[in-house]
Symmetry: C2
Subunit: 342 residues, 2 copies
DNA sequence: GAAGGCAAAGCAACCGGTTGCTTTATGGAA
DNA sequence: TTCCATAAAGCAACCGGTTGCTTTGCCTTC
């Protein structure tokens, strides 16, 4: 009890047996030239419980191969935005992990890391989930140490596994939907796509919008527009001046703002203006009225990633690395309609 | 396992010195009865670099007294709701920790735990942040191990530190604001307050609403209303039938829904209906139009908690435990106005 | 009665570092 | 030449577990 937590030796002393005996009993490592009398076993277990003994994972990690710890990398950048899909992803991952036969402990690293530093925790981990991305050094370490991993919504190195939503397909569906309704003046509202940095969804959505518009011989109307910009200015520019009848918005917060601004400007949605956005199904559930949205399937993303990871952990070396492209779904609700022809 | 990762001994052998010498040189632990010739020092450092030696953090944290790890408890319940203030809290905590002179690693526990189980990680932690609450067993362990901790937005045991927003004062300000505008038919919209379970903000806001109304001789109008319920039904009942002119909403998502429903029902906000809600400043920032809201100060909450914790860690035993009641602020924007008198 | 076999538990090395203390080498003073 | 202080580096215990192998004791069996 010197430094707080009781150690294996403390339990051993209290129970009057040796360290190794305690270790073997608590880890149920019988056979292999070892056995105990039931009486001793009970006493040890009881003593451990009484002292509130909990193995020190750090020490355990030093010698053992498995710690049943799953570590989620990238929490700091991925969870820092409000209403982020990663929240749903993480929740679904923990849910799957909890219901797994062996239960796993899940931790999320929230620290900031320099881009040239390792994000590896000090303890040994059995599996890793990478939210969008981690530093190169971290990735190298993960691969070198042979830790099973799955990248969620991000690029992964050769031979790795990933689960990524198909933003290109989703964008195509959105445009298709608007075209079928009869729209031709379709604008895109989203942040500027920085091709080098940033997430692939930015260029994916934006570029697909451009190419789809071009494919159908339509003019593309793009004005970089972040959720913090003035939605009213944006609508004045696009809807009132350029005659835009439909907007594809990068995120649901941006869409909500557009909706509010439309109310202020007396632009009826969906009669005069259709809005479709990319959205997490949960985020959308709590919002009324129902936005027409492209479901990123974050719930499924988390689930699939967790199952993929579990599979890799449980059958090491026998699972083919997979790159799963998760189809997005168009959910038509109350913010899209045929264009106003009055 | 080995995977070629060179160990301290490998470096020592290659450089022709002992383990301890390498350790001391690489950690720059001179003095205290130890010194090296510059020649040897250079050779060791060079050898380490050549072998691409990286210390095994697991082994390191076994012996070191400090692990520089901060653990955040309660991530699973606190971060599972979208748009949660805890997200802001966590982000601000990591920010403070990162800018601390010694840098700390912050992890968030996302596992689910039975209420009679310990949530303690198996590795040593230097400090703990508890989001709202943790299991009793966990709390006991933290106290017993003498780990510095701060409870954020929740109750803490005798002698512990906590940072909590003053929901009672905030509610009083909100009601006061509405009264000054001339409202008298003020409704409260929020989840049912389960007095035993649940968070103190539920009864705090609800009860203060009741007592304030009573204090001013006004009728209280309460209909349990969650964000998933129909906002339109709620408005029909309160505004259209009972003549309510102002609503205090528990959360910003609920307020947003009320706003949308008001549009649908052609109820003008704020002309015919004032809405004020409790909200995270960040969540509100991304929303237009500007809601009048009670600022919970989650940013400050995280900052204060982190600083308090750092203080406790750096001056162990010399810091008085504090219970900080953070004042909420009323931010008047575009959803409150004098009642409609047409 | 001695040898053999097996159940039950302990010894001690090891994982990869850190650190208090000891040993060895070196040089200057007496 | 002898002694001693000090610089330079090594020894070995320790952190808290795991595990191969050995020891102890008891019961059979010949």
């Amino acid at each position: 009890m010197k430094s707080g937590m009781p150690s294996l030796s403390d339990v051993a002393d209290a129970a009057g047996v040796s360290k190794s005996t305690v270790s073997r009993i608590l880890n149920n490592r019988l056979g292999n030239g070892f056995s105990v009398r039931d009486e001793v076993r009970r006493k040890v277990i009881e003593t451990a419980k009484k002292l509130n003994y909990r193995p020190n994972l750090i020490a355990k990690s030093l010698t053992m191969q498995s710690t049943r710890m799953i570590h989620i990398f990238g929490g700091n950048h991925a969870l820092s935005d409000l209403g982020n899909i990663y929240q749903t992803v993480v929740n679904n991952i923990t849910q799957i992990m909890d219901s797994a036969s062996k239960d796993y402990d899940v931790t999320v690293d929230m620290s900031r890391h320099a881009s040239d530093a390792s994000e590896m925790p000090a303890w040994k981990i059995d599996g890793a989930i990478i939210l969008a991305k981690c530093t190169d050094i971290t990735m190298d370490e993960i691969v070198q140490l042979g830790i099973p991993y799955v990248v969620v919504n991000g690029a992964c190195p050769e031979g790795g596994s990933s689960v990524v939503p198909d933003d290109i397909g989703g964008t195509q569906m959105a445009i298709q939907h608007l075209l079928e309704l009869g729209h031709s003046k379709i604008a895109y509202s989203g942040p500027l796509p920085p091709y080098l940095a940033g997430h692939s969804s930015l260029p994916d959505r934006h570029d697909t919008y451009l190419s789809e518009m071009q494919k159908h011989g339509l003019e593309s109307i793009f004005w970089p527009h972040d959720i913090l910009d003035s939605a009213e200015d944006y609508l004045k520019e696009t809807v009132l001046e350029k005659g835009v009848t439909a907007i594809v918005a990068y995120g649901h917060m941006g869409a909500l703002n557009l909706l509010q601004a439309a109310h202020s400007l007396n632009i009826a949605v969906p009669e005069q203006l259709s809005i479709v956005c990319y959205c997490d199904e949960y985020a959308n559930k709590v919002m009324s009225p129902g936005l027409t949205f492209i479901d990123l399937g974050s719930q499924k993303m988390g689930k699939v990633a967790a199952e993929l990871l579990l599979d890799q952990i449980q059958r090491p070396g026998r699972v083919e690395p997979q790159r799963i492209l998760l189809q997005e779904k168009l959910v038509v609700r109350n913010t899209t309609a045929p264009p106003y022809s009055g």
